[in-house]
């Protein structure tokens, strides 16, 4: 269920990028996509009734019941990268606004000519 929801999020983000010409909204779309993927990654590592993957004296007995720590590590990294990209995208957005005075890609000289 959550898995489908996360895939839906990705598609929603993709649709956002596809349908809008507004730079900020495109960035939001990217963020939604990333969110979706992150959730998806978590679901892959999810184990029902699993424990936090921390080695401690009281969890030794149920060694097979950990949630996958790798997926969580991936998500952490992915979140950080997503943050960087969003920041950089906003910088570009600012630059475009400074240059063309608009956040609309159609008006921002981003037409067909290079």
């Amino acid at each position: 269920m959550i898995r489908i929801a996360s895939l839906l999020l990705i598609l929603i983000g993709l649709y956002g990028i596809f349908s809008t010409r507004n730079i900020i909204k495109i960035l939001i779309g990217i963020n939604i996509m990333e969110l979706g993927v992150n959730i998806f990654i978590i679901t892959v590592g999810f184990v029902k009734d699993g424990l936090a993957p921390i080695l401690s004296p009281d969890s030794l007995s149920s060694a097979l019941n950990y949630v996958d720590p790798l997926a969580q590590a991936l998500v952490l990294t992915s979140i950080v990268i997503g943050l960087g990209i969003t920041a950089l995208g906003l910088v570009f957005a600012r630059k475009i606004h400074a240059k063309y005075g608009t956040y609309d890609l159609n008006k921002a000289g981003g037409g067909e000519d290079a």
């Binding site: 993709l14 596809f18 349908s19 010409r21 890609l105 159609n106 067909e112 000519d113």
Partner: protein, 609 residues
């Protein structure tokens, strides 16, 4: 000296000529003369060492009679033309580059003719293509160089495909082995044959590749057109030669459908040759520019050479092989004569010249004899070789092709007469009245080539003896030669006797001309115009619209160039579509295509598993 060392020396000398030219243009021009004469002497001296195999690194060479023969033809064109180089240096935009590339392309042709394997052949072939492409652009037209390069590339790529295909089947690049290895699979062999010969066709200017000749020959530097027409075009003949001899075409296609006793693929190529004769002749008749005219005549003559070589028999083959020498001599001489006129008058437009016989009589004679040879009129070399080709065609009963060949022969009277009368005969333009004959240094190569043309017509057996050796090495029966006679099944030709007859006739005509001189010289403007002022004297020139009534018969004929233009426009259009569809400033377009690709992958994974 091994071929590799010889070529290395030539390349080094080419580089040296580059630096000499950079220091002193004229000296650089003379350097090309010295180097090309040296190369000619070296190759001539190699006659004895025929039959050797050599290799150097990954290059393989094989010294064959046919390679030797082609090299001699080529180097004659190169070395004779090089005499003009010193005097044209000041017109070149890159004189040093010109001289360097001139010698590099020369070395390339030698390497190609002596190649023992296909890789070597291809390497040198391409070397000649790019070096000559960079020379041609120093002439009148940039487009000419482009057209030349692209059509050469069409041939080169096809040949590379053939080479690699043959390699994948027979596992070797050695010329003979690679082709004989195909004997087991006629289907592959057919593809290899047609693809391989394509570069030869494009180089020789066989229809539909003929469009580059008028462009390139007509616009190349005047000192390079003789080499192009006299020399480089013959590289195509070499490829054609390999296609029927090294590639045992008649044996491999022996079981295929035969037309008039010739295997269909070969007959098809002969038809292309016949078409080239017709088109070359008709187009030559139309031309205003003397060099373009000669270029179209090269198309026609390429047709004769191709047909002759493809016959691979006793007589016609000998004719084709001999004709390439004759055409090289005559066409180089004719282009040089036009270059000499252009040197003095600065134009190659026929309607802008006239009466040059009074000013440049030697050049006139050179031109006269060359075109007589090209038209196949006795007693010049061209007559003997065309006669042999006709004999071969008649022997085999190849009606249509023979008709085309005869048509071309008659048509050539029309087109050779035009520059003759327009440039040399007729009235002298007033602005040309101070024109002088060219100096000895430029006259020398023209005279040598002319004498050679004459010699080939009077003593054809000198050349034919080499041709018989080639025929023996190709495993066909050599043409029968008596002392000074060529014997065929339909008759015999004693060229010397023909020469005597023609010489006698000429002498009588000359005496009559001297004794009963009735003509009166009039100026071009010496005419009655009803007080009308003449703005353009060219219109009064009698070569203006020379063959207008005849040309009108076919002036609606489609131009092959349009086909290439359409292909080119088509590619550009596709490019435009690609740009519009895939590239732009906005992400949406790309996202759409990514999703489309995703669907394709999904289908590929699910439906068509």
């Amino acid at each position: 000296m091994s071929i590799a060392v010889f070529l290395a020396i030539l390349i080094i000398l080419a580089a040296a000529s580059f630096f000499v030219t950079a220091a002193n243009k004229k000296a650089g021009g003379f350097a090309t003369v010295a180097v090309s004469l040296f190369a000619l002497a070296m190759v001539l001296s190699m006659k004895g060492s025929v039959g050797g195999e050599q290799s150097f690194m990954y290059l393989g060479f094989s010294i064959t009679t046919v390679g030797w023969y082609f090299s001699v033809v080529m180097l004659t064109a190169y070395s004779m033309t090089s005499f003009f180089n010193p005097f044209w240096m000041k017109k070149m935009i890159y004189p040093a580059g010109y001289n360097f590339l001139y010698l590099v392309s020369m070395a390339g042709t030698i390497g190609m003719f002596f190649a023992g394997d296909f890789i070597t052949l291809f390497i040198f072939w391409e070397t000649v293509v790019w070096s000559s492409a960079f020379i041609i652009q120093q002439g009148k037209s940039r487009k000419a160089s482009y057209v030349y390069y692209v059509l050469s590339a069409v041939g080169s790529m096809a040949t590379l495909f053939a080479i690699m295909l043959a390699y994948s089947v027979s596992g070797t690049f050695v010329i003979r082995d690679a082709f004989t290895g195909l004997a087991g699979s006629p289907g592959t062999a057919l593809v290899v044959f047609l693809a391989f010969i394509l570069s030869g066709l494009s180089k020789m200017g066989i229809f539909p590749f003929h469009v580059w000749l008028p462009e390139a020959h007509g616009s190349a530097p005047h000192t390079f057109s003789p080499v192009l027409s006299g020399g480089l075009v013959k590289m195509g003949a070499f490829i054609a030669f390999l296609s029927v001899t090294a590639f045992p075409a008649y044996e491999i296609f022996g079981d295929m459908l035969k037309i008039m006793g010739i295997p269909a693929p070969i007959y098809f190529l002969m038809l292309l040759g016949a078409l080239s004769i017709i088109i070359g002749t008709l187009m030559a008749i139309k031309q205003e520019d003397a060099k373009r005219l000669l270029a179209y005549s090269s198309v026609a003559n390429g047709g004769y050479i191709l047909i002759g070589i493809l016959m691979l028999d006793q007589v016609g083959f000998a004719g084709g092989m001999m004709h390439l020498m004759n055409h090289a001599l005559a066409s180089a001489a004719a282009f040089l004569a036009i270059a000499a006129v252009a040197y003095r008058t600065g134009t190659t437009k026929m309607s802008e010249m006239g009466g040059m016989i009074h000013r440049m009589p030697v050049t006139y004679l050179v031109y006269l004899i060359s075109i007589i040879s090209m038209a196949g009129i006795p007693p010049m070399g061209g007559f003997v070789s065309k006669w042999l080709v006709f004999q071969g065609l008649a022997d085999k009963g190849l009606l249509f092709i023979a008709a085309a060949a005869f048509f071309g022969s008659i048509g050539s009277f029309m087109y050779v007469f035009r520059p003759l009368s327009a440039v040399f005969l007729g009235q002298l333009f007033t602005r040309d009245k101070d024109v002088r004959e060219v100096g000895f240094f430029m006259m020398f190569p023209m005279v040598v080539l002319t004498l050679l043309t004459l010699a080939a017509g009077v003593f054809p057996n000198i050349i034919l003896r080499v041709v018989t050796e080639i025929q023996k090495s190709a495993g066909i029966e050599p043409v029968t030669l008596a002392r000074n006679t060529i014997v065929t099944t339909n008759g015999f030709l004693d060229a010397f006797r023909v020469f005597i007859v023609f010489g006698f006739g000429f002498a009588i005509a000359f005496v009559l001309f001297i004794v009963r001189r009735k003509s009166r010289k009039v100026g071009l403007m010496d005419t009655y115009t009803s007080a009308e002022f003449i703005h353009t004297p060219e219109l009064l020139h009698y070569s203006h619209s020379f063959y207008a009534p005849f040309e009108r018969l076919y002036d609606k004929a489609p131009d092959t160039m349009n086909m290439y233009k359409k292909i080119s426009a088509g590619i550009a259009e596709l490019g435009g579509l690609v740009e519009a569809v895939f590239y732009g400033g906005k992400p949406a377009k790309t996202i759409f295509w990514i999703m489309a690709a995703g669907m394709v992958f999904f289908l590929a994974g699910g439906v068509f598993r």
